[in-house]
Structure formats: C-alpha cells, structure tokens
C-alpha cells in the first residue's frame, strides 16, 4: 500500500508540474523582497486570528443558538466550509480574486495552484506574498461560513458542500477582485477597509436569499426554538471579537498607525453596539439580555468593518451605537415579515455591512475623507459599492441555489428535520 501510494503521489506531482508549468515556482521565486519582520509578525498573527474567528468562534456562536439535535451539524457547516473553501482558494479562488486584472471584472489565472506565490514581499507591503494570500484565504472562508446561519437546522450536507464551492468561486472571488484585487469598484475609489461589502453585505444578503428559497424550518413560529446553549454563544462572541482585531487591524497589512486606528475603532464599535442593542431591547421588552449584548457586539463589529481604518474613535462610537439599534430593529422586523433567517445573518451582517459602507462614506476622516469631512463624492461611490454588491449577490445566490436544488436538493426531509441534523446527516450525537 505504501508503495502504491508513493507511485500515485509521484504521478500526481508530475501531473501538477505539467498543469502548473513550473511546479517548483514556490521554491524558486528569487531573492526575497524587503520583508518587514514586524509587519510580517502582525499579519501572521492576524491570519491565525481570523481562523480563530471562524473555528471555533463563529462555529460556536452559531452552535449555541440552535437546538441540541442540530449542534454538530451546525458546527460541521463552518468546519467543512473552512476546509473546503481554503482548498478552493488555493487552487483557483485566489487567482481569480488577486491575479492580474482582466477588464476590471476578474483576476487572471496566473496564480492557479499558488504558482508564483512565494516568500517575496507582496507589492506595496512588507509581508511575504504567501502570507497575504493566506490572510485573504481566511476572509474567503469565513464569508461563506457566515451565510450558514440563515439556513441552519435544515440544509442537506451535500447541498451545503456544492453551494459553498459555487458561491465562493462565482460570487466571492469576483467581488473580492472588484473591490480589492484591482477591479472596477476599487478603481472607482470605493472604500472597504476590511470587508463591509465583500464580506458582510455579501454574506448577509446571500443569507436573505437562502432563507427565502429554503423556507421556514418545520414548526417555525409554533414550536419553541430556543437556543440550546447560550454560554456557548457567548464564548463564540468573545472569540469572534478577539479574532476581529486580526480581521480589521490586520487589513492594514502591517503593524502601523493604520492598524492602530482600525484596532481602536473596532473595539469601540463593538462596545457601543453591545450597549445600544442592550438598551434598545431593554426599552422594548423590559429586560436587557446577555444574547442582546452579544448580538450587539457582533453588529458593532460588522458595521465598523468597512471603515475601521478610516475613522476617528468618536465616529466609531457613533457608528457602533447606531449599529446596535439598527440591527436590533432589523431582527424585530424580520419576525414581522416572517421569513426564517434562523440565526439573523441578514439583520446583523447584511444590515450592519450596508450601514457600515454608507457610514464610511460619511465619517471617513483618517487617510480618506467622507461627506462630513468635505468629500460628498465618496458617499456616492459608497452607495454604488453597497448597491452593486447587493444586487450582484442577490441574483447570483438565487441562481446558485436553484442549480444546487436541481442537482442534489436543498433541504432534508421533514422526518430528518424532526430527528435533527446530527443523527440524520452525521449519525452522531453531541452529548451523552
């Protein structure tokens, strides 16, 4: 067996060499560029932080909110997306997003299989190209994982896999290219520091489409669907917050003043969001809740993401306060409208991201100017950014879902839903 494995891998190597043109490109990419160890240290750390946001952070945040019969299935969504999209990114996605621009809409295939992505500094930074790639990889993975909250407790596992791959390649990579990879939105001057449009609007409105296409969970509005473990969600919140410093301040791509600005804005908005959601709920229902504080923190973080590096602390405070109230209102609205966005991805990431992109156009004052600082044009650009992202994502997601439905079916059967994802999809139980 050992022997045949080796022949096989050897064969694969040869194939890959042929495919790649220069399989040893990584080892050969010449003398290293001007790497700054401090910047590199920070982006190495930031990449790890974003991993931590995703798994265990997001996985637990979502996991605590579902019923106990679905907890492993929910964790598996995030875990498998992290694995799968990472590989897709390495093989194809990175190149589509960050390869040389082709017509403003997509990257070239030059970095297929990470060919030519090596230890040299990424242009305009002091960090190795490989680290830039892996930092971006983490963003690609978490964006897809965020969506899963909207169809929690009812998606077929095979459908999830297919959906994730298609969405990442067809929606995320182009979008990342448009904004960050040299595409038309970035060229237009759109500001999206760490992914308000690319990550949050995109996942948030994809989530809306998913919730509508998949429909409500069996028993929605009738049976109680209370969270099975809120401390797990609080733990997830803490890890998301922690990791978000890498997400936002890491987006400065160095350990510099920009990172400092982003770090502080991120923290302030998280705190302000937590407080304002809490107060809004307190006023409306008479009690402040732990889940409200946690949700507000995440709302603040999502909303500040696009502007983090461009905002003064007090602007961040204001934006955070608005985020908490607005996203809470969106949750309340959802209940009235009756669609089942199970874990409120739309209300938090969709609404938060959208608000944040616009707020950046108003409040940007550090290294860029928004409307309130004398630059009304920026606000217009931000509107274009938000709206075009939304439209592209909504249409794209709808089409992908229809294709996946046709191919493998989106939903588990009602009996499976009653049994839960854990036993029906994975033959596992979480607790015993």
């Amino acid at each position: 067996m050992k022997h045949s494995t080796f022949s096989l891998t050897w064969l694969l190597v040869v194939i890959l060499c042929v495919l790649g043109g220069a399989a040893t490109g990584w080892a050969q990419d010449g003398t290293p560029g001007a790497i700054d160890t401090g910047d590199t240290a920070w982006i190495l750390v930031s990449s790890a932080f974003v991993l931590c946001m995703t798994l265990p952070g997001l996985a637990l945040f979502y996991g605590g909110l579902v019923r106990s019969k679905n907890i492993l299935g929910t964790l598996a969504h995030t875990a498998v997306i992290l694995c799968l999209i990472s590989i897709v990114w390495v093989l194809l996605g990175y190149s589509l997003a960050f390869g040389t621009d082709v017509g403003g809409v997509i990257g070239s295939l030059e970095f297929l299989g990470l060919m030519g992505v090596g230890q040299d500094a990424f242009p305009g930074t002091g960090i190795p190209h490989l680290i830039f790639m892996v930092f971006q990889l983490m963003f690609a993975a978490i964006t897809v994982a965020l969506i899963t909250g909207s169809f929690a407790e009812r998606m077929k596992f095979t459908a999830l896999l297919l959906f994730a791959v298609l969405w990442s390649v067809l929606i995320y990579s182009p979008l990342a290219h448009w904004v960050w990879g040299g595409g038309w939105l970035g060229e237009m001057g759109a500001l999206d520091f760490a992914g308000g449009a690319v990550v949050h609007i995109s996942s948030g409105f994809a989530a809306l489409v998913c919730a509508l296409v998949l429909g409500q969970r069996k028993g929605y509005g009738v049976e109680s669907m209370l969270p099975h473990n809120l401390p797990m969600t609080v733990l997830g919140t803490g890890l998301l917050w922690f990791g978000w410093f890498g997400f936002n301040a890491g987006s400065a791509l160095g350990a510099n003043g920009g990172a400092a600005t982003a770090f502080v804005a991120t923290h302030i908005a998280a705190c302000a969001g937590g407080l304002s959601w809490m107060v809004a709920e307190w006023v409306k229902t008479g009690k402040p809740t732990m889940l409200g504080i946690a949700s507000g923190i995440i709302a603040g973080l999502a909303t500040i993401t696009p502007g983090a590096g461009f905002l003064s602390p007090l602007s961040a405070l204001l934006i955070g306060l608005v985020a908490g109230v607005l996203c809470y209102a969106a949750v309340v609205l959802k209940i009235r409208l009756g669609y089942d966005d199970s874990l409120d991805v739309v209300a938090i990431h969709g609404v938060g991201g959208f608000t944040g992109i616009l707020a950046t156009g108003l409040f940007a004052s550090v290294g860029a100017q928004g409307l309130f600082f004398g630059n009304p044009g920026q606000f217009v650009i931000q509107v274009v950014l938000a709206v075009s992202t939304l439209v592209f994502v909504v249409i794209g997601t709808y089409v992908i879902l229809k294709v996946v439905d046709a191919l493998v079916g989106l939903r588990i059967s009602p009996e499976e839903e009653e049994t839960g994802l854990d036993l029906s999809q994975h033959s596992e139980r979480a607790y015993s």
Binding site: G219, E223, S224, E418, T419, L423, H426, S427, E428, R429
Partner: protein, 112 residues
Amino acid sequence: MKLVKAIIKPFKLDEVKDALTEIGIQGMTVTEVKGFGRQKGHKETYRGTEYQIDFVPKVKLELAIADDMEEKVIETLGKAAKTGSIGDGKIFISDLNSVIRIRTGETGDGAL
C-alpha cells in the same frame, strides 16, 4: 382517583398539554425518559465504530385525575398524541388512593 401515565413523543408535548388544559386538567408532571419498544432507535458512528442505540427520547406525563375524568382524558390525550406512526406511545391507568396538596393540606378531588 386515577393516576394516568402517558409515554408520548417529545414534540407532541405542547399539543397534548393544550388539549388537556382545554378539557379542564389543571396540573400534570412531565419527565424526560428514554423509551424502548417497537420503534427502531438509530445508529451512531464514533471514529470507525458503529453503535446501535435502542433507546428513543420520549416524554412521560403523569396526571392525577378524578375518576369521572378518566374516559375524557384518555380520549383527549390519545387523540392529541397520535401521529399514526410507530412509537406514538402508551397510556397506563392505575388507581390512586389519595392525593394531598402540600400547600393547603387539602385532600381528595379538591387537591388536584
């Protein structure tokens, strides 16, 4: 008085409770149990091993009722708990000598 025990499917609990409340039942006690019966259990996988789990999650209701409620309770309970598929559960009825309400010391039907 009678003691009615019913083993039912967990997701039927609210429906059964509401149906019983409607016919005037004011109290009951509920326990999470595991049932073994004709309804098949499920398989669980653990790192390469498969386990057959025979026990199925069920809910047990206990109701102390006055004798004249027996029929009505059984009918109502049976209807509300029924899905028609295997594993719907059972109702067991036995005699109860007496009932006391701890708070007041009342006994008999008034204590229910």
